[in-house]
Assembly symmetry: C2
Homo-oligomer: 367 residues x 2
């Protein structure tokens, strides 16, 4: 059996786009007068300084092919949580406070029940994240979404994307500059596959493995569909708990597509060593075994149990773990900041990083 | 021949969603502490007051099925302008200054040339609007975009969505409260079909009419494809000119899907009478004649030559026309604010309005 890879599953070719992004869009920063873009491409969100004490932060992300699980199960009341999660988890990495999200729902066909369920999930996500959803957009695109433009379309197909705005004091923007070798990496648990790697997961489990979403798998304790649809964890509460506990946070990373390589997005001349791995949720070993996927690929595509990383001074590990733990999340000290550059997963002997630090547009995470 | 209608062309059924939007998402406004949503659903953008002198404004919109014209012509270097236009034109209606947009590009397949051209259009749009594009997202969704999940997909298919942030002083937010009967409606010219009604236009012209995009039509003076792909006008410069000229603006409306009925989104207990119609660009008479579409439907789906409306005190009409004209736009006094509610297009004897004032999510404009 051929080893499955993310590229083979249909998510590839994104690396060409970076230089084009920078070449075409960086000049747009100069259009602003009295305001200033203070982030570069590559961070999970962008900050625009509008006054001495305020920067507006903005980001956008979608839930990718996770919508196909929702459509297949005909259950739409949780994927809005994923949409909020993918956005607010990106935004809080910069130390920003998320305020509001607007959503874009592109559908093949509008259906009141589906829309109602989708809105219910968005509302629940907004509640968990403490944000408002003051507006949004629905576009009915019967020839584009769930359709190749000619053959009959898939009425249930949809794409769900959010864009989040928040604020941060410009002096408290966290981009990674404060990171020092020896700082500690604290990993916060994921709820499962989140909204990344669903294309590969579906290909492996439903294709190679011949499973159906309705299969109740002993290792999961529920159906495969329920497992894959489990909403993405929202980490706003964990980061707020650290702030309340006055724990100094020097860097944060939302572990989405590219896995721990996302750490390399931080602006610091350091490296990252993962020294201990918490046990990965069983869905990942199922995917790995079924697809005969090697560790490197698994850790590149999936969160493997750690959905968010907070980097704190070594002496703050215990207060950090206490604060995060008491806010209802599982957290572990998983590694340290190193002088040597790159990202190493030591228990597995893996070394990696981003091929290009400015890969914001190129995130493989969304599919 | 059956009369074509927007519903028949596949864009329908959105009216059910409104009560669900308000029911599910309005409670999210209460999540904010120290910040406040100061708009209601129904406006083209949403404002969040973060301090006594600053509100952050956010909106999202896509270019709808106009991407199908770009894909068919295999030309992608202008649709980014449409994406910027659809967003900034919404935002400026509230009196806000657009600062930045993030874009979401969902594709069937990534292709360096297509991406490069798309980015070039986004850059040009950013330049015209005076905004930065500091980040964005690309998602490769080969089973959702341009695909029904099974049959071979359309590699060129894509969806392009933007989300824009800007700022406004809370006291200078324009929602329509200052409108008074007798105020004058100033219409600003569109560049053609913009990003609305493409589904109907394609159905009529390519279906019923049997035209091809490569047909050079005498009434258009160019090919049908070139005409339909003409970028949406960006009205930022016109509104800035009014500000520079210190013209008091009491209300603004981006004439997208729903046409002049968009005026009814303004928060004022008034009505709107269109008294004079500027000549519509020839593409509209072509669509109307080919599809045997009545005036009511044409004015409900298309901008009919007026892409933006500014409402000023009667005595400010001349300064407004001068300011807008000298900034390079065509503008006309097209009507007045009335005591009688509703939207009337007097030269055609049409009466209308939005069925529901809170139809922000229900805009038919995106397809």
């Amino acid at each position: 059996m051929k080893q499955a890879s993310y590229e083979a599953a249909g998510v590839a070719g994104q690396s060409d786009a970076l230089s084009a992004v920078v070449r075409h869009l960086q000049p747009s920063f100069a259009h602003l007068e009295g305001a200033q873009v203070i982030t570069r491409f590559g961070h999970p969100a962008s900050a625009i300084k509008v006054s001495a004490d305020l920067a507006i932060v903005v980001c956008t992300d979608g839930v990718g092919s996770k919508t196909m699980i929702a459509s297949a199960l005909d259950r739409y009341d949780t994927i809005g949580i994923d949409c909020v999660a993918m956005n607010v988890n990106d935004m809080i990495c910069l130390g920003a406070r998320p305020l509001a999200m607007v959503d874009y729902l592109g559908v093949n066909a509008l259906d009141p029940r589906r829309t109602d369920e989708l809105l219910r999930g968005l509302a629940e996500g907004a509640k968990q994240a403490g944000i408002a959803i003051p507006g949004g957009e629905v576009a009915q695109l019967p020839e584009i979404i769930g359709s190749n433009g000619s053959a009959p379309g898939d009425e249930r197909a949809f794409d769900l994307v959010g864009a989040c705005v928040g604020t941060v004091h410009p002096d408290r923007l966290i981009l990674g500059h404060a990171l020092r070798p020896g700082d500690a990496l604290v990993g916060i648990g994921s709820s499962g596959i989140h909204s990344n790697g669903l294309t590969l997961a579906r290909k492996v489990l439903l294709g190679t493995g011949g499973h159906r979403l309705s299969d109740k798998l002993p290792s999961l304790g529920r159906t495969l569909g329920e497992e894959l649809l489990e909403p993405t964890e929202i980490y706003v509460g964990a980061v707020e708990a650290l702030r309340s506990a006055a724990v100094e946070v020097r860097g944060m990373s939302h572990i989405t597509g590219d896995g721990f390589a996302n750490l390399a997005r931080l602006e610091a001349e350091v490296g990252y060593a993962i020294e201990e791995l918490p046990p990965a949720p069983p869905i990942f070993s199922l995917i790995q075994a079924t697809g005969r996927i090697n560790d490197a690929e698994m850790f590149r595509v999936f969160n493997m149990g750690v959905g968010f990383v907070v980097i704190v001074p070594q002496e703050s590990v215990d207060p950090a773990l206490r604060a995060i733990g008491s806010s209802g999340y599982r957290a572990w000290r998983i590694g340290r900041v190193t002088e040597e550059p790159g990202v190493r997963i030591e228990p597995l002997g893996l070394t990696g990083g981003l091929e290009d630090g400015d890969s914001r547009f190129l995130r493989r995470g969304s599919a």
